[in-house]
């Protein structure tokens, strides 16, 4: 009997065609899906052509996924040129999965999609990947973006790589990986209505620091994780990289399988379970009933404090968006607090994907198709005075100066995004507080950092939102 393995070890062993792997071992693995976008795609394509030749073909045209999402809504001509490089490559290679911002047609700030259901454009890659059927339990997904680890919520190994690694995979379908030691983070109890997964991951990063999981795999488990929606689990794994983690992974359950069955563009996948007795170099447990809404203060995701302790901090702006906090359930969390109220500070809302945007128009704030006379999630947010931008990465990473919601002056912003090192959202003297959509919405209403328990007492129903 082989010694017990973690989920990550099992996935890496299977893709290295070995019965067993040990942490620290270097293995060459077969990659199931490679994703790139408009910021890293041009460089990756350049290296691919330089190394494999200008007429080279990718290893598998059905396993390369290209999702432009970073610099779409800008008048910058180089950004538009980068999108054209992707288009040309997709055409030349005959790639099956490409999500074109079809409204980017020439100079100037593009007029965005009029109807989010009628564009080939998707928005943030980490949200679009599961929506479009590219994530599955047991697979290896690599992407030229550090938040590729998001897909670990679906029980797969997913991690970010650079252009050179991506170019190598484009040509060979393979990469070398060092098998990481695993860390276990267990959450007990059921998620209370005033917490979201954002509070859980800020607790984890605050506990172990922004480098606490460097080179390691982060396994999120326990009935507390089971009580989270699949989308909220994506928030947990999304921020594994903010602790330095190589990947983050959750157990697969019926919620995972229901989503993947409905979406996957391949019929088969393998579900791996953690073996009893598998080795963890670190374990920590939390009881959800004793946890409080948290923030990460400037300028580091591990600068943890409670929202309550920060109540004297005035904010100039609130931001709800990104792969971390721009999902449909995040929008429902925010809308449930903003409903019938008016924001006190400019509040920018950016749907994570065009599907999220479509759902914001289609669903009511309970996450069900809106009935006659009922307000949509989008309408609730607009009525509260939010500024709504088109789907994409937008100001989460600053980007070009004309980016929607970008911090162009040294102001204080409370944000549902993932990273708050100096300059992340634009100005390097701006202060960014990371928080859950509940805490951000509550703070938007008061103008200072606010514990959402002042607004939330009942469980927030999310209905059908993000379920399949």
């Amino acid at each position: 009997m082989a010694s017990p393995m973690t989920v990550t070890e099992k996935i890496l062993a299977a893709h290295a065609r070995k019965s067993h792997v040990l942490p620290g071992e270097n293995v060459w693995v077969d990659v199931d899906v490679l994703m790139t976008h408009d910021v890293c795609g041009p460089g990756t394509i350049g290296i691919f052509k330089e190394e494999f030749g200008k007429d080279a073909k990718v290893w598998d045209k059905d396993r390369v996924v290209i999702i432009p999402d970073h610099y779409i809504f800008t008048a910058d001509t180089k950004c538009h040129r980068n999108i054209q490089i992707l288009r040309d490559f997709v055409k030349e290679q005959g790639l099956k999965y490409y999500y074109d911002p079809d409204f980017v047609t020439g100079g100037g700030m593009p007029n965005p999609y009029k109807d989010p259901t009628k564009t080939s454009y998707k928005g943030v890659c980490h949200k679009a990947l599961p929506e479009e059927g590219h994530v599955r339990p047991g697979e290896i997904l690599l992407g030229t973006d550090s938040h590729t680890c998001t897909a670990g919520a679906f029980g797969q190994f997913a991690t970010g790589v650079g252009n050179t690694d991506a170019a190598f995979v484009l040509g060979t379908g393979k990469t070398w990986l060092k098998v990481p030691p695993s860390m276990k983070f267990a959450f007990h109890g059921q998620i209370p209505p005033y917490l979201t997964a954002k509070d859980l991951i800020l607790a984890v990063i605050g506990e172990i620091s922004v480098s606490g999981a460097t080179y390691k795999s982060m396994y999120f488990t326990g009935e507390g994780v089971g009580s989270l929606s699949l989308e909220d689990r994506m928030t947990l794994t999304n921020m594994a990289i903010e602790a330095g983690g190589k990947n983050g992974v959750c157990d697969v359950d019926e919620k995972t399988l229901a989503y993947v069955r409905a979406r996957s563009n391949r019929p088969n996948w393998n579900v791996y379970k953690d073996d009893p007795g598998s080795k963890y170099v670190f374990s920590h447990e939390w009881d959800l009933s004793t946890m409080e809404p948290l923030v990460a203060k400037p300028h580091s995701p591990d600068n943890k404090d409670t929202a309550h302790n920060c109540r004297s901090v005035k904010v100039d702006r609130a931001y709800i968006g990104s792969c971390t906090g721009g999902k449909i359930t995040d929008m429902i969390f925010a809308a449930s607090i903003l409903k019938g109220n008016t924001v006190k500070v400019p509040t920018f809302v950016v749907p994570g994907s065009t599907e999220v945007h479509a759902d914001m128009k289609r669903l009511n704030i309970a996450g069900e198709p809106k009935g006659p006379g009922e307000k949509s999630i989008e309408q609730v947010l607009l009525d509260a005075g939010c500024n709504l931008g088109p789907s994409g990465c937008s100001a989460c990473l600053g980007g070009p100066v004309d980016t929607f919601g970008r911090l162009n002056t040294p102001i204080t912003c409370i944000s549902t995004t993932n990273r708050n090192f100096p300059g992340r959202m634009g100005h390097k003297e701006a202060g960014v507080y990371l928080a859950s959509p509940l805490t951000v919405a509550a703070s938007a209403l008061t103008g200072h950092i606010t514990d959402p328990r002042e607004f939330v007492s009942e469980p927030i129903a999310t209905g059908t939102a993000g379920v399949v």
Binding site: V39, T214, G244, K246
Partner: protein
């Protein structure tokens, strides 16, 4: 691989993330276009807040305004150098500016991997913390084979960790060269 690298040191602190090394607004340049690639050198480290730029004094630019290259050859960092995004533009920017080696206590893994696999920079790890030991502008020498950093300005010597598993890739000059050398990929 050059075995002894000598030049001026540029010192930074802990958790220098890739947004500080090369802010996102500059990622519009295509690193595969030689005319655009040099802009990564121009903007290397512009995201580091002035007070933390060039320790211990601060307010020292890595690359002077309007220039494409740096007078500093060796970057010294603290813990978790290169954390944040996976952008390969980060090691590329430091290398494009003309620096050859980074010496930090430890690295964020994607940055480290990009340094090695892309063959941009030599990411060395110091055994002791060098922030505070080395000042920006000090004349420093890094001896790879001997695993030593010598601060010629102060006359002190510091141990570096061995490169370990990645040494064959570093020696080959990157992952493609390594794969060709080891027969995994056909010669160009």
């Amino acid at each position: 691989m050059q075995q002894v690298i000598t030049g001026k040191a540029y010192v930074l602190g802990d958790d220098i993330d890739t947004d500080q090394i090369i802010p996102a607004e500059h990622l519009k340049y295509n690193p595969s276009d030689p005319a655009e690639r040099k802009f990564f050198g121009m903007y290397a480290m512009v995201g580091v807040p002035p007070a933390q730029s060039g320790l211990p004094k601060g307010n020292v630019k890595f690359v002077a305004e309007g220039e494409f290259t740096t007078p500093y050859t060796i970057v010294i960092g603290g813990r978790n150098f290169g954390c944040g995004s996976s952008r390969e533009h980060a090691p590329l920017a430091i290398a494009e500016a003309g620096a050859k080696v980074v010496v930090a206590e430890f690295y964020a893994r994607i940055f480290y991997r990009n340094c090695v696999n892309g063959g941009y920079l030599l990411p060395c790890e110091s055994i002791q913390r060098l922030v505070g030991e080395v000042s920006t502008g000090d004349e420093v020498s890094v001896d790879i084979d001997a695993g030593k950093l010598i601060n010629k300005t102060t006359g002190k010597t510091y141990q570096l960790r061995p490169l370990g598993d990645v040494k064959p890739i570093v020696d080959a000059g990157g992952i493609f060269a390594y794969a060709r050398k080891s027969g995994m990929l056909a010669a160009k």
